[in-house]
């Protein structure tokens, strides 16, 4: 399921992206002004640097699936928040807000402050 959120935060404060702290590349490819909410099943959690990735299968209206490639912050930053290489596992049902690619292709940037399990539990408890 996918829901567009036209303007998530007021005051011109952009939702921090996974690219924010890593300085691997400019984050301008992601549309910070039009974040979207995704709910789906984790196919893979890549705990790599400079970016982690969540491969997320999202069921579209009509029953078809779209697989999103979602770029996140580096392990060196996530570990401070309690993340580890097995924090997410294939099969986990999650809900998160992402900044999508400007092109509309199924890619985007996720942030650890905007992700939960589908049943409402936080993915990690703050250390």
């Amino acid at each position: 399921m996918r829901r567009r959120l036209p303007w998530l935060l007021a005051g011109g404060i952009a939702l921090a992206t996974g690219a924010a702290a890593s300085a691997h590349h400019s984050a301008a490819m992601f549309d910070a002004e039009n974040p979207v909410e995704l709910a789906g099943t984790v196919r893979e959690f890549k705990y790599t640097s400079p970016h982690t990735f969540i491969v997320l299968e999202v069921k579209e209206p009509g029953g078809a699936s779209k697989i999103w490639m979602l770029e996140g912050n580096a392990p060196s930053n996530l570990v401070r928040e309690g993340w580890w290489h097995d924090t997410l596992k294939p099969g986990d049902e999650i809900r998160l807000t992402v900044q999508p690619l400007r092109s509309g292709a199924p890619g985007g940037s996720w942030n650890s402050s905007r992700i939960k399990f589908n049943d409402g539990r936080p993915v990690v408890l703050a250390p």
Partner: protein, 285 residues
């Protein structure tokens, strides 16, 4: 006296002499051990940590660029606004290089030895800066690198017999480099000189300052910024591996960047972005 006997006497005399002491007196140097990270300060204007942490990102940096290089910077910002990378090379897994790497997008370790101080940072590529403190002169010929060639000097500023400041000068840099992810450019002649003064805070010994001054032909004047680093409290910190080729989805083809899909194919980044140029592929094959 036969030569052999003189040689034997000389050898015996040499063996009898105490060996020259090569002891490294650690107490003369500031304690810079441990893991250093960028001091947690708000990033003014949002986005990624800029070169001058006291000013907002992007144009807010007020980089003293010449009109020619300000125009290059503006063209870079226009490219980034539509999803491109502009002048920032990190997306191609190029090293950030000096001085940008000293913003500490990743943690730093400092290792002091008598002749060389090493600055180790694993960000996109394993940076191992060597700051030579053995009194050498600049070599006549040197291959330029992203991290440059650094000569340093320890200074005892307060005369207490212990070093307080490490002064560093770095030359022989190569590009392409930018100051920070907003793409502030260096002159294409790569004749940048970077001067640094590293010193611990007098009261907070877990706070390290780095006053950096950049001299570059794309600037109207030297540009000085103050960076602050915080020593992490963990006794056994984690040092993360950073393998750019593994952890990135950006792929550059020609002059365009694309985003790699979950199954390894190219996806557009910009609206209405053209597919990659296949000029070297024979049609129909």
């Amino acid at each position: 006296m036969p030569v052999r006997s003189i040689g034997a006497l000389a050898l015996a005399a040499a063996l009898a002499m105490p060996t020259a002491s090569l002891a490294f007196d650690e107490s003369k140097y500031p304690d810079l051990k441990g893991q250093w990270t960028r001091a947690r300060e708000p990033i003014l204007g949002g986005g990624q940590a800029p070169f001058d942490p006291s000013k907002p990102t992007g144009r807010g940096q007020q980089a003293p660029l010449t009109p020619e290089y300000q125009a290059i910077y503006e063209a870079n910002l226009a490219d980034q606004a539509t999803g491109g990378q502009g002048n920032w090379q990190g997306g191609k897994c190029y090293p950030v290089g000096v001085p940008g790497v000293m913003t500490l997008y990743r943690a730093m370790e400092i290792v002091i030895t008598p002749a060389t101080t090493y600055i180790l940072i694993e960000h996109l590529h394993g940076t191992a800066r060597r700051i030579y403190t053995d009194g050498r002169d600049w070599p006549k010929q040197i291959e330029p690198t992203f991290d440059g060639y650094s000569i340093g000097k320890w200074i005892d500023e307060d005369g207490d017999g212990k070093y307080d400041v490490l002064e560093v000068e770095t030359r022989h840099l190569r590009g392409p480099r930018a100051y920070d992810p907003s793409g502030i450019p260096f002159h294409e002649d790569n004749k940048t000189i970077v001067k640094e003064r590293l010193a611990l805070d007098k009261r907070d010994r877990d706070l390290l300052y780095n006053q950096m001054t950049v001299i570059d032909n794309a600037l109207t004047r030297p540009w000085t910024v103050l960076k602050k680093y915080r020593r992490e409290p963990a006794v056994q910190p984690i040092w993360h591996e950073d393998i750019c080729a593994e952890g990135q989805a950006l792929i550059r083809v020609g002059k365009e960047e694309y985003f790699q899909s979950w199954d390894g194919y190219l996806m557009p980044i910009r609206k209405n972005q053209a597919p990659p140029d296949l000029r070297y592929f024979e049609p129909g094959k």
